[in-house]
Symmetry: C2
């Protein structure tokens, strides 16, 4: 079972499209965790224990661990190990937006897939497909390529017209053509539901990672209308700050999962 | 003095446009270093001691350190500390190809500039300029944006035509417009000298980081003809495998510096 199938199985099993984003910025951790030896790991365990039953995926943004240096890197690794042991059926995404020329991408892929043990990684397409190939050669893992990102500045490059379509559509087309192993997904921001709908049209059943619900203003109903695939899944809907830095993360996760499921029933 | 001026001063002082790439892939380190506690750091010190007198910059590719986990991250940090102490006037580049949405890019910038102490970082432009802004806000540091990369697959996106010009030209134009603090540089691969010449035309005197000489096949004479700015500098010419994994790195660095300088005299 590759990681695409792993996500799909988990989403069905727990009836959830929710991804909890462990953006465990040291500057935002509640005071008690800061007294721990490994504050980010302690915080993550707390969040995982509270929210795992509602989640089909967890996503760690590597920036917040790198900002804590080698210790942060170790806490990221130990978080993945904790998740894999407790919840082997949950998809674990490294949100790292990597890519480099071939031999260097191979080193990144080894770091993220082999050493850290993530199931999936986010990648930037700017360097082209030979830069993504070392990641794609891991057939049982998933490469999640940036397509239309959730930030306004995403338009600077992504909305430039190439052959009459915006660049993000060209990326979606290229990804659809190269997905013969079913191990590619795309990032499509919740803040641009019309673009999300177009991406769905281009990529068929491919699973899409959707950040930007919550703090960034994306609307759950619009995301589901635009993005569900023909079997009523195909979305990984991420919330980070809207769950992990809330007083009751379990309640926040349950409530977002339920809100998503309520809208799924109404979606076309 | 910001990092652009720092590079220029060093390049003048040692009469060199050479950047030594510390791509210290564990799998390629000579046997004796593998017996050290911190093999990458030991290797880097050895290379730095041998080559610094010929170098205006050093570049560490983060992938090869991440592939060694938290220990690799620490060795990257200690390499930067070693360089800053011994050679405070040499530009130190983190080749990390980062970028993410605003609050996350701020964490990356903090990791790379504040905590690790690099002078410069390479960035991917796909997410747009709001994603690069947290890096650019460090006025004394340098943000080096991917423009035309050295790999053939770079063409997949970068050569798509937008408003009649390839995407990499649009990136160069955007960078030139946003360089009011003189802290932007661009990556222009040595393997595409015609593109390099066009980039030089677009960006004026801006400094360009040029990877791809040596193992990747870029030609020194063509790079200098195409890329020198009006004061006969404006290029950071990187070589990694062609120096660090050669039997005599000092000789390899001296020889490449000399070859560059010989061609500089002939350049138009």
């Amino acid at each position: 079972m590759n990681a695409t199938a792993k996500y799909d199985a988990r989403a069905k099993a727990v009836n959830s499209l929710l991804c909890v984003g462990l953006d465990s910025d040291l500057a935002k951790l509640p005071q008690p965790f800061l007294q721990c030896d490994q504050p980010q790991l302690a915080f993550n365990r707390h969040i995982i224990d509270a929210t795992a039953e509602y989640a089909a995926a967890f996503k760690l943004n590597s920036a917040f661990y790198e900002a804590a240096g080698a210790s942060g890197w170790r806490q990221m690794a130990e978080t993945v190990a904790y998740l894999r042991e407790r919840h082997p059926d949950i998809l674990i995404i490294c949100d790292a937006k990597r890519a480099d020329i071939g031999n260097t991408s191979a080193a990144y892929a080894s770091a993220i897939f082999d050493r850290l043990g993530f199931d999936a990684v986010t990648l930037s397409p700017y360097l082209g497909w030979d830069a993504l190939a070392p990641f794609l050669s891991y057939a049982h893992k998933v490469s999640i390529v940036l397509c239309r990102t959730s930030n306004p500045g995403g338009a600077d490059l992504q909305n430039l017209l190439v052959n009459g379509v915006p660049l993000w559509q060209a990326v979606a087309q290229q990804a659809a053509q190269r997905n013969e192993r079913d191990n590619i997904m795309l990032v499509a921001g919740a803040t641009y539901p019309r673009e999300l709908a177009k991406i769905r049209e281009i990529v068929g059943a491919m699973t899409l990672l959707v950040p930007g619900v919550g703090a960034q203003g994306g609307d759950v109903a619009e995301v589901l209308d635009a993005g569900l695939n023909s079997v009523g899944r195909g979305l990984i809907i991420n919330s980070s700050r809207g769950i992990v830095f809330i007083a009751d993360p379990a309640q926040a996760a349950a409530s977002l999962r339920d809100r998503i499921n309520a809208e799924r029933r109404h979606a076309p």
